[in-house]
Amino acid sequence: MRAILLAAAIVSMAFPASAQDKGAGKSTYDKTCALCHATGLAGAPKFGNKADWAPRLKVGAAKLYASALKGTANGMPGKGGNLTLSDGDVKAAVDYLVASVGGAKSAATPVAAAAAKPSPAEAPKVASAAPVAVVAAPVALRAAAAAPGAAATGAADPNAFNRLLAAPGKRNAPPAEDGIHDPANPGTHALQPPLTALGGMPALAAGNRVNWVSSLEGGRITPRWDRDDAGAAAVVMDLNIVREVKGSMPDVVYPHKQHTEWLDCSNCHPQIFIPQKGANQISMASIMLGQKCGVCHGKVAFPVSECRLCHSKKKEGAGPAAAVAGARK
């Protein structure tokens, strides 16, 4: 086996550089790249499609290689997700793709020439890497492709802090840039950008990045209690319910006051919560699936990431680290 590989390596080294390159490029393409680039899956530029490739060819071969090796913000994972490919394999595959649209001479020429002379050390690797296919790739691929934060900054950084967390500059985006509104719709541009309304309100680390409860308490906003009557006052009930919870988390204090500032009794009782002590089974799992508190919290009201806003009462006899009494403000 080794002798055959060695022989293959020697043979491949003996080949004219371009022919060898094309072979390796095609085999890498068939094995890894074709998955997306044959069909244009997920927006990948298609093999042989000049329109897809024209803008890419303009950036030059060096950047194309870098995109293929490190991944792109558009979702391409580094090395197409097949991390056992050598750099030479990947570059050869890029050359092969570029050649498919006749771009080898115009765009990739400077570096293609360099890549066409594989070092003797690289050539055997090219030959021997081919049979080794990778199945471990999806994880890396998922991580690299799924990082919106990284995508926004233009680099698919697999170690991006948290792919679910929008970077500070990307929060409260105006409608035309928020990914849900259609920028081609004239009305989209007439809508109020969130920051103009939320900008001066008390901050919270999650959700709309706004503390709605203190905004209301502090008079920063004056939402109507009645559709027509601007003077109608909320029917507020000031009653705290303490729920002892299992495990080490502080107990939950449920304040009727802050809820009745916004809601009517009938919004929660009796459908969501039976108004009787001990009658309601609540778990974080059900909340995260949109039940109980999760009917609002995790959709509109502050999300479950803000644990201590609810779990705010130190357990009897618990250590000093357990409670954050001031968390509610």
Binding site: L141, D178, D182, N185, R227, K299
Partner: protein, 148 residues
Amino acid sequence: MEKILIPGIRARLAGLVLALAAMAGLVLALPAPALAEYGDVVINNHSDAAGVRPVVFPHWFHRVRFRCKVCHSDLGFKFQAGGNDINMVKIIDGQFCGACHNGAVAWSVENCDLCHSGKANTPTQVHESTIQKLAGPAPAAPATAAKR
């Protein structure tokens, strides 16, 4: 020669596995990173079928102006995205959105594109909701996402 072919076949099989796994990963992982507000509701019960853009309801905008109770108690909106059987006839008749969007409390229904402003094919969802995150991001408009 045969010895070289066999690993080739293995590579192809493994490649197939990779392909399937990667496609599953891509389907889950590739939607556009939407940056819409927490609580923005996309309602696409009938819009796509009717050839208009889906509705985007901005919760934050309405929270500044009304307490939850006004819509969710007085007007009868259920706490569920897409769970309310809303149509333009009802709205013009003064139900649901039409209770305010009547030219008296808020601007009226001729401003179609202020509500019907979402990207086509965006599914009904509450943006950035815990469920959306747990289930994987909802695929944003495929046509436009593919161009990104």
